[in-house]
């Protein structure tokens, strides 16, 4: 059965970066609207089943309310944390979902990748830093996901593997694997605290897999020194500190700061780099893991990330294949508005 899965991260787009930068606030009402549009469009494109991930804000329920669509909210425990996204992605894998629409920022896409590394993904930006996801309307996102899920447009035609930054953290007691999709930063603070990396002076090192001059956030440092496209293999390592170069970067959207650069170098696909000692790791812009004095961090960039669906290309192919025509000339399809 052709299935589209939709994940909406209720926590995306609301952190402290809004206080001192003009980062977008994405309200729950906005998110519900996007999901609603995606549901209607995916159904219109022929998806036979729409699975929604549950969330603590009940955004999925609100989006589904009153819609005439084959919607099912999957039964997963809700924690109110990023683990809800990870669990939903894993569940969608088990349910053989044909395409996921995920609403959030870079952090949300990362969580999808953790739950389902090979996920066929339409990433819709509703976060703070949105290097990985794109600003796509829910209608287009849902339509494209629907066509891919039904096979009317094959995933091979429009999907491309994205890169990921694989991180293994070892210390005396434990060994943890984690993933970033855009950037990994070493931050010299004592606390995860409010998560966002705000103070440029605390950033000592950035590993970026996607770093274009149009990036915002930590990956903008590499993006303005040594651009790496999302499809080019490998990445960049930037070491901060006194050096011959400094650079102006938008560390948060609409907020520029000067960073001193000690060293920049390319990282080849699969090349492992290792660092030791105490730090806090920020994954895709958010402080998330503490590493102790005896900690060891091994990092490698590969191309095992989600299969990102090109929405423009999908809808273009759909048009060429006359997929927008009603099924038969005489069929009486009424208007669908989804409000």
């Amino acid at each position: 059965m052709s299935t589209v899965g939709i994940i909406v991260n209720p926590n995306a787009g609301k952190d402290i970066r809004r206080l001192v930068t003009p980062a977008t606030h994405t309200s729950d009402v906005t998110k519900v609207g996007i999901v609603r549009r995606a549901i209607v469009a995916a159904t219109e494109s022929g998806a036979e089943r729409i699975l929604l991930a549950p969330d603590r804000h009940r955004l999925a329920e609100r989006a589904a309310d009153g819609l005439d669509a084959p919607i099912q909210i999957v039964d997963e425990p809700i924690t109110g944390s990023r683990y809800d996204t990870i669990a939903a992605a894993r569940r969608f894998w088990k349910e053989q979902v044909g395409a996921i629409v995920a609403l959030g920022g870079d952090g949300t896409s990362r969580d999808v990748a953790l739950g389902w590394p090979d996920s066929p993904l339409v990433a819709v930006s509703t976060g703070t830093n949105n290097v990985f996801p794109s600003a796509i309307d829910g209608t287009s996102a849902g339509a494209a996901a629907g066509f891919v899920a039904t096979g009317a447009v094959a995933l091979d035609e429009v999907g491309r593997r994205s890169k990921r930054i694989l991180v293994r953290i070892d210390d005396a007691d434990s060994s943890v694997d984690d993933v970033a999709l855009v950037d990994l930063a070493f931050v010299d603070t004592d606390f995860i605290g409010a998560r966002a990396v705000r103070d440029p002076h605390t950033v000592s090192r950035v590993v970026a897999a996607i770093a274009t001059p149009t990036s915002t956030g930590l990956s903008s440092i590499a993006g303005r020194l040594h651009p790496v496209d999302r499809h080019a293999p490998g990445g960049v390592l930037v070491e901060m500190g006194a050096g011959e170069r400094s650079i102006r970067v938008p560390l948060a959207p609409g907020s520029f700061t000067t960073m001193s650069i000690a060293d920049v170098r390319s990282l080849a696909d699969g090349e492992e780099i290792v660092f030791t000692g105490r730090t806090i790791l920020a994954f895709d812009g958010e402080r998330d893991r503490t590493v102790g004095d005896d900690g060891r961090v091994a990092i490698r960039i590969d191309s095992g990330g989600p299969i990102l669906i090109d929405v423009d290309r999908t809808l273009q192919l759909a048009a060429e294949r006359r997929l927008f025509d009603p099924p038969t000339k005489t069929s009486d399809h009424g208007d669908v508005h989804g409000h």
């Binding site: 952190d15 309200s27 804000h57 409010a194 998560r195």
Partner: protein, 326 residues
Amino acid sequence: MNISPEVQFDLHRRMVRIRLFEEAAGRLAEAAKLPGFLHLYVGEEAVAAGVCAALNDDDHITSTHRGHGHLVAKGGDLNRMMAELMGKSTGYCKGKGGSMHISDLSLGMLGANGIVGAGSPIAVGAAFANRYRKKGQVAVAFFGDGATNIGAFHEAANMACALHLPIVFACENNEYGEFTPRDQTMAITDIVDRAAGYGMPGVIVDGMDAIAVHEATLEAVERARAGGGPSLIEAKTYRFYNHHGVQNLGLKYRSDDEVARWKERDPIFTLEDRMIENKVATRQQFDDIWADWRAAIDRAIQFAEESPLPTPDQVLVDVYTTGGAR
């Protein structure tokens, strides 16, 4: 920004003071030694501490019916606080206000408030006066999730933004308006979703993490002092005890599981663990801090118990500054 060890200890001490004061008050209430209502702040300490540590003594705050924590965090005198809770003449309000009106204008604490939402318009007034005087002071309005359902909050938020005042709206979202879950009283989940409607930024922080609250408040306060206007911080937090009092009194409006889950994230213990992990502090240091403040609370109780009750002639004192009816 990295929060220095001094500030880490400062946050910790403010939280410990609140916790010990509130638990002592709770025990006294259980022993029927405190008259009136008692709304305890236990569980939400990271919010008051994180916010107030980002303020100067001449910055203003308005508080709520759950206001002890705000006064303790702003530097309130524990003796005068405890005496007020007991209705003694040596109390902050000379026994005329009690728990719900505890205040210290010399510390910029413009009063706990028995009316939900009423503090925010007053904070707007303080913020207006602060800008008027041009001395760089800011005002913070503390309020709960429930207060955002009352008109006064909306009027205050809108006016603060319309007048571009130096104010921070600090929402303690503890998920319950008295005994009713938040999701039954509003169709949104995050209070910050309201902020854009007034034209100010709103951010969410973990209200069980004093460092996170403090980081956010530093930015909001800096923004306000620099003329950047109002902002709203929503701290997701939880009260460990009931709406009022200490015991659950068999009121099953919250599941034991839910309470236990939040208690696992106790704001004081999680900070202690992290500071020890970071080798900023030792267990012994924390033990000493708890012991010191326990002794201070004991002294406050003794001071309060030994203090005289107000005499009946005080009923008519301080109704007016000058003049007034007979």
